[in-house]
Amino acid sequence: MRYIYYPGCSLKGTGRAYEESVLAVFRALELQFEELDDWNCCGATAYMAIDELQAFTLAARNLALAEKQFADEEEVNIIAPCSACYLVLMKAQHYIEEYTEIGDQIRSALKECHMEYEGRIRIRHPLDVFVNDIGLEKIKSLVRKPLDGLRVASYYGCQMVRPYKVFDHHYSPTTMDDLMRALGAKAVDWSLKTRCCGGSLTGTIEQVGMRLSFILLNEAQKRGANVIATSCPLCQFNLECYQGSMNRKFNGSVDLPAAYFTQLMGMAYGISNRELGLQRLFVPMTSQFSKKEGYQHVGV
């Protein structure tokens, strides 16, 4: 099966480590993919809040481009690693197909620039593709350096399973936990897997946003996690960037790396730290792995 890879803005910017590790893992899994040509903003967050219709239209342009790029495929699978992109693309597709009026407006907008959305799209999260298309068996077979002793708190965030629970449970998902176990890690059982990370609140009402991230880190650490695995650039940013201020503000002692789940996969596959963008983490993995060979933090 061939996939279209839709990076979105974050993976080219603040979430570069996510793109680096996603692509490294794609290569390791010999996944066939092409990046979407001429892609544009998915329409997420701010745009969606100001004008939903225009946000959907932006998303629809990406969908139409993908259909054009894979003109022969009966079903075009787009991988959107960023949870926000994943959700917005799905939401756009849902609205176009469910609400004729919105659909018609979007279609006519696309027509203005000689484009068409046919409805052959299936939007996928890499986690879904890894576990459900490639399978845990194959994922396991490629492990060269099992993540022994690593206690991972899988953090799915709000957008991957809500409101569209395409491949996992909306409240207590388990796909990433299964994946981590396949890599040799121990999945930490905790109840905040889908609780809000603070989202863009950290940029607007900092004390609220920061408190939400702190709750997650504190609970994960208390449950014995030594790394928190994320699947969204914004979650990752919120979780790792403010740990110092959080500790001062909330009198806490959180010190937990927040890595992309693909980085952990890459580590288990023995891919070099630099290829996985591990050097970009603000909270280094070093402290957790100093005793383990090969998991040295690489300075920026």
Binding site: H169, H170, Y171, S172, W190, S191, L192, I215, E219, K222
Partner: protein, 667 residues
């Protein structure tokens, strides 16, 4: 047959009576215009408009007009025929006409209540009246058929509803078959400790009734049995009952339990159904001490003999009466009954479906049914409220409306949860002194003594927090929350999101129809609501009847209800069934099919069409023969008849054509 039945000089004299139904019809349909219009139709000699045609004066109006205007046909435009057809037929008959010289027009349910535009509503009503006027002319005088009724009654389901209905009928001297699918009767009520609001002990009021069922000479009790097939019609049903093997000769077992003690399993090892999994049982077991009949059973899924064939069969050894029979097979019994009462009850909502509440994840989250067993003196802990980790709870949260009043699960209110939650709150507080928090949306306590009970709980210091719980979680924010379950909810009375740490959580699960309600509905040929509750014939006026004559419903299979309502309804169903079988005969609608022998070419097409084998072939005369006693009046055969020899009373081709022409040519 009266002289009016014959048309004088071929003259039809039709009276059209249009009902206002207060403002139900008149509020939307211009009733005077409809009546006026009807007066312009051929052969209509009188039209009337009246406020309530179904009332006594309304019926008298019809009867007087029949006499005064020498009417020979009557048309009433009012509500649905399913509501008042019988009423007006009776009025027509009492006026001296054949009751089938009457046609009803539904201008309420099908017109005034469903149409926005007054003009179009009136036009639609006119069209329907025109059709009836044309149709009624070709109506024929018919006699309704009276058939004898089998006086025996079948009651399906042995919960409190079935038990009460069976006893009522048996006490009236009729023979009753009570069929229960579980190994014992008693149903949900047998699991309860106390009943609200009187707090009398459920077992004390139920078990005497259970033993009277067993002892009653008029009741045949078949537990561990299911209905397999139902044939026939009101007054004469043939029912096949499947008796599942319990591997015990029921008549020989005395319930001494020696076999249970002797079983090779020293301790119970398998989930005890009666204690909803809170205790363990052996493969051979008595469901509970007061089980009725007091007969053990063997579960072949767990019994070593069935699984490996290598058991020492200690049970057989100790049973002096030789009651154990590993070769028992499923058995079928065929019975004939005149009426059937369905009292198949409910199931409780499975809270796994609301994962936010952590049922199945956190051991100290319980369903209310589990708590019923836990507070029960004969339950797994002898009534001591202990959690799965053996601790006594110091604080308990009761979450109301789990699986009720929620569009994601069930939109309806389950009616009993507020009250049983109060009861459980009282019992737990009494036994543990724990702090109790009720999370409710609205407290619904309508019922005799119910509001007073609520008030009593308020006095007892039970906490009530208005708000639907968002989640039950184990993540602690402060040290006092460590190792507790934290309830997160918005307290909507003070407008604050609250976290309350507790030891134990009780989910007040709602009531749902059984998973197989659809199959039961088909088996008995009745209807179900969307939620799976059996549909009553009329929500107010025929609450225990179904659309199928002779089949009645009682208890929670019709919708969630508490014990007092269930028993009242069971009594009502018993009375309806008794009224039907006691009179000895039943009037059947004469809508059967028949054949005009001269026109029958003997093609046999109709024979293959009849699902009831009511048509046979008379080879001597080369024609089809219709058995009206077997015919149920679907009319399928009429359609296939190529010569038009087959006809259905009340729905003849002529009548149908007149109606079709009528609705289309009224203007």
């Amino acid at each position: 047959m009266s002289a009016f039945d014959i048309q004088e000089n071929g003259d039809f004299r039709i009276g059209v009576f249009v009902c206002d139904c207060g403002i139900n019809i008149a509020g939307k349909v211009n009733v005077s215009a409809v009546a006026e219009f009807a007066g312009t139709l051929p052969n209509v000699v009188v039209t009337r408009e009246y406020k309530f045609m179904c009332s006594d004066p309304g019926q008298e109006l019809i009867q007087n007009d029949v006499k005064e205007f020498r009417l020979n046909r009557v048309v009433v435009a009012s509500c649905s025929p399913l509501m008042h057809e019988a009423t007006f037929r009776r009025a027509t008959a009492e006026a001296g006409l054949n009751q089938y010289f009457f046609q009803m027009v539904n201008i309420r349910e099908h017109v005034s209540w469903v149409t926005e535009n007054e003009y179009l509503a009136t036009e639609k009503a006119k069209a329907l009246v025109a059709a009836a006027v044309r149709r009624v002319k070709v109506h024929r005088a018919l006699e309704s058929k009276s058939v004898p009724v089998n006086p025996d009654v079948l009651v399906v389901g042995g919960g409190i509803a079935g038990i009460h209905a069976a006893l009522t009928i048996a006490n009236a001297g009729k023979k009753v078959y009570l069929v229960e699918r579980e190994p014992t009767i008693g149903g949900h009520m047998a699991k309860f400790d106390k009943t609200f609001p009187t707090l009398d002990c459920a077992a004390c009021i139920l078990t005497p009734k259970m033993s009277s069922v067993k002892a009653h000479k008029n009741i045949t009790l078949w537990t561990y049995s299911e209905i397999d097939k139902v044939d026939g019609f009101a007054g004469n049903f043939t029912v096949r009952v499947k008796r599942k093997p319990r591997y015990i000769k029921e008549e020989d077992c005395v319930g001494c339990n020696l076999c249970v003690e002797a079983c090779i399993f020293k301790e119970g090892k398998f989930e005890d159904e009666f204690n909803v999994g809170l205790s363990k049982r052996k493969p051979i077991y008595m469901p509970f001490p007061q089980a009725t009949p007091s007969v053990v059973l063997i579960d072949p899924e767990t019994c070593l003999h069935f699984k490996t064939g290598k058991c020492k069969q200690k049970c057989v050894e100790v049973c002096e009466r030789g009651a154990i029979d590993f070769n028992q097979q499923e058995e079928f019994k065929e019975i004939n009954v005149g009426a059937i009462i369905l009292a198949t009850g409910f199931k409780t909502f499975d809270p796994h479906r609301i994962s936010e509440y952590g049922y199945g994840v956190y051991p100290n989250v319980y369903t209310s049914l589990e708590i019923e067993r836990l507070v029960n003196a004969s339950g797994p802990t002898q009534g001591e409220v202990l959690m799965r980790d053996g601790r006594k709870p110091k604080s308990v949260a009761i979450i109301h409306c789990v699986g009720s009043r929620d569009r994601k699960t069930n939109a309806y209110c389950s009616r009993v949860c507020c009250m049983y939650s109060l009861k459980l709150a009282h019992l737990i507080k009494e036994r543990t002194g724990a702090e109790i928090y009720n999370y409710y949306i609205d407290m619904r306590t309508p019922g005799k003594g119910y509001e007073e009970f609520y008030d009593k709980l308020l006095q007892e210091g039970v906490h009530f927090i208005r708000g639907r719980v968002a989640e039950v979680t184990n993540w602690a924010m402060v040290p006092s929350e460590e190792d507790k379950l934290i309830i997160r909810a918005e307290d909507t009375l003070i407008g604050v999101a609250r976290r309350v740490p507790v030891d134990m959580v009780i989910l007040s699960v709602g009531l749902e129809a059984h998973d197989d309600a659809g199959e039961v509905q088909r088996l008995f040929n009745i209807s179900c609501s969307k939620e799976g509750w059996f549909l009553e014939r009329h929500p107010k006026l025929a609450p225990v009847s179904t659309f199928t004559d002779g089949i009645f419903i009682a208890g929670a299979c019709q919708g969630p209800k508490d014990i007092p309502d269930t028993v009242a309804q069971a009594g009502a169903a018993a009375a309806e069934a008794l009224a039907m079988v006691d009179i000895g005969h039943v009037e059947l609608e004469p809508n059967t099919a028949n054949v005009e022998t001269v026109m029958c070419s003997g093609c046999k097409t109709c024979i293959s069409m009849c699902p009831f084998s009511a048509i046979t072939f008379d080879a001597e005369n080369w024609r089809a023969e219709f058995n009206e006693a077997l015919c149920k009046g679907c009319g399928t055969c009429v359609v296939t008849c190529p010569t038009g020899a087959a006809q259905q009373h009340l729905y003849t081709d002529d009548e149908m054509y007149e109606e079709i022409e009528g609705v289309l040519h009224y203007v």
